[in-house]
């Protein structure tokens, strides 16, 4: 039973159309409201709190509900309940809270529960640098919960993109019944810029794919590895059951290795087989480039300076900005690796996504990491030096 996501235009109630001057955190909340999210459970943590505050302020006038939970574990647990209660749901956090959420991210993955989790990244490990920027949780977004699975991670580079990607995150989470992470960072979260919120009728929103069949026949799962079963909400009389245990199509525990093959390969393949539909990148000057700078989030805005300098000095440099980091556009990286001299990968971490670029490049070209221990954006000079090195 394959299905197309049911697209509608946004409910004008949640859309504050017009130009605004706002920071990335506030823009996330506005994007969520535009996407139809009416349930937000969260716990305060710098530098993400402003999103929760914005939601708390806005929700009484849009028919939504905000609840400050006792911790981040409770917050994500409430999202799972909220989603099966029929709502589009969101939470926002930063490193320590993201760590606390990991177990129930696995439950959301396993029960195929749509939700959006924004991580406004700050420097770690542990309490680290609460008020300073980082991109150190990128691998945690990929591997943080136990077991094998896939989820989706989007990375905005501006407040405008926080708004846009919040909507996209909800749309993807409904389409694939999967948690979607918005892996932003302190700099983008706290940076004030112009954000244009379009009129509601120009915002495309994916509605939940509601089951319309008879009672007694609902199956919460189909293990096709391509698409997902429709959903129901508690109270509609379908008497569904979901569990974090390995389960069959009815959602009943089925604790055999054979069933785990079905479940796990479905969870992985529903994302892997749709990479081309999910993955979004921005390219500039890739054709004929000798060096390609692969970056994401705030770092891509710093990298532009280095690329401009390099181009001035005659180097052929392209830019590949990952808007979707997970799933990674592996084929594109493989293809480029055969054509260029080297990749340069700046990240505000000790080298995370660069490992993936290296894996895909498989020795066909140089891969140079421009890493950092977090707390500040790069000096464009460092990236320029790496570009020159890669071009040799």
């Amino acid at each position: 039973m394959s299905q197309l996501p049911h697209k509608v235009t946004a409910d004008p109630k949640g859309v504050e159309s017009g130009p605004h001057f706002m920071d990335g955190d506030h823009a996330l909340a506005e994007g969520a409201l535009a996407a139809g999210c009416r349930f937000f459970a969260g716990y305060p943590i710098t530098p993400s709190t402003e999103t929760a505050e914005r939601f708390a302020e806005r929700c009484p006038s849009v028919g939504g509900l905000f609840i400050q939970m006792e911790d981040e574990i409770a917050s994500i647990a409430a999202l799972i309940g909220g989603a099966w209660g029929g709502q589009k749901v969101m939470t926002v956090t930063s490193g320590p809270g993201f760590s606390l959420m990991m177990e129930n991210i696995g439950l959301a993955v396993m029960t195929e529960t749509p939700m959006v989790i924004a991580n406004v990244q700050r420097g770690g490990p542990s309490t680290g640098l609460p008020t300073l920027t980082a991109q150190q949780d990128m691998m945690q977004a990929r591997w943080g919960s136990h077991g094998d699975y896939r989820a989706i991670s989007l990375v905005p580079d501006s407040p405008q993109e926080c708004f846009d990607l919040a909507i996209e995150a909800f749309n993807l989470s409904e389409t694939y019944r999967v948690p979607v992470f918005i892996m932003t960072d302190e700099t983008v979260g706290h940076m004030h810029e112009k954000v244009v919120i379009p009129p509601a009728d120009q915002i495309e929103v994916v509605e939940r794919n509601w089951y319309k069949g008879p009672k007694g026949e609902y199956r919460p799962y189909q293990f096709t590895g391509k698409d997902v079963a429709p959903m129901v909400k508690a109270g509609d009389g379908h008497r569904f059951h979901v569990t974090g245990l390995t389960h069959d199509e009815r959602g009943y525990p089925a604790l055999t290795p054979e069933q785990n093959v079905k479940v796990v390969s479905h969870l992985i393949n529903k994302i892997d087989s749709n990479v081309d539909k999910i993955s979004r990148v921005e390219e500039d000057g890739i054709e004929g480039a000798d060096v390609v700078v692969v970056s994401y989030g705030i770092t891509s805005r710093i990298a532009i300076r280095a690329v401009q300098e390099a181009r001035k000095s005659g180097l052929k440099v392209g830019v590949l900005r990952l808007i979707t980091v997970w799933p990674l556009c592996e084929n594109k990286i493989r293809e480029l690796a055969g054509k260029i001299k080297g990749f340069v990968v700046p990240e505000i971490n000790y080298g995370q996504i660069v490992l993936e670029i290296e894996r895909c490049a498989a020795g066909k070209c140089k891969v140079i990491s421009v890493n950092s221990c977090g707390g500040a954006v790069h000096d464009p000079e460092e990236i320029l030096t790496a570009i020159k090195e890669a071009a040799k």
């Binding site: 028919g63 939970m69 409770a74 799972i80 309940g81 909220g82 989603a83 508690a234 109270g235 009943y252």
Partner: protein, 325 residues
Amino acid sequence: MNDVARNMDDATFRQQNPMAEFLRMERMPHIWCPGCGIGSVVTSFAEAVKESGLDMDKIAVVSGIGCTGRVAGYVKFDSLHTTHGRAIPVATGLKLANPELKVVVFSGDGDLTSIGGNHFIHAARRNMDLVVICVNNFTYGMTGGQMTPTTPTTANASTTPYGNYEYPFSLPFLADAAGATYVARWTSLNARNITESIGEALNRKGFSFIEVITPCTTLYQRRNRLGDGLDAMQYYHDDADIEHGADTRTVDITFQGKLKTGKFVDRQKPTYLDAVNTHYANVIGDDYELYGKTPMEKKAEEDAKKHGIDDLPEPELTCDSEDDA
């Protein structure tokens, strides 16, 4: 028994079982040991639902992990089997997303008061409209009989092989102090009382907590040389006294000591959602659209509009905090 005969038996069994309406019969037999007390609590719950006359489609059951956690998988309601300790916050999300639901949490003592202890006290503090049933068997059944926050001092558990030297929680006291508006305790011998308490809880608003002392025959009973399920019933029969309205500070449990049971707390206080709605209606005024209107409230509002009355119906609130138990 060959397969055909077995299947026939199953079919007849399923048809004739009085619980068939409430249980996912296709999932029987259940995993619980002979003499285990969990099943009898489920029976009382089904009985209470039947007597309540509530629409079964509007009842949802949420469990965490443990032998008790398996309840969600056997009952024929919308049901979520979640993670260890997290049934209450999942139930909170479910209730808030769809306020017309009656959400019931089935949890073990470890699930609810160890790993999930924080959620327990906060849901009670908020007077979240949930029915929380704790099957207290003084042990972690599912993982093999370890000590829990309710294991009586001196009792033996696999992680206190020389006897427990910790002080246990008294759950009614904890729930009461945290703000629960209905608190009762029974032993699994008191099937009728459990049914009544669950019935009362289903028919009221607010955080209702029902503790049921039950035997874990395989682990707690055996390890402490307390005999089988029948011996546990004998203990409950001999040593449990009903004392409605007992001060929850006086209901501690000691190893094989006297047990106080009964309805300890029954008071009214606005629920979380009532508080949300009343507060916003006060501060925002007419522009505020009540969140999670019940079908009755919705109808009243429509009628009011039709008749040109623009007053929204006030959410039903009673601020009588007196303990009438």
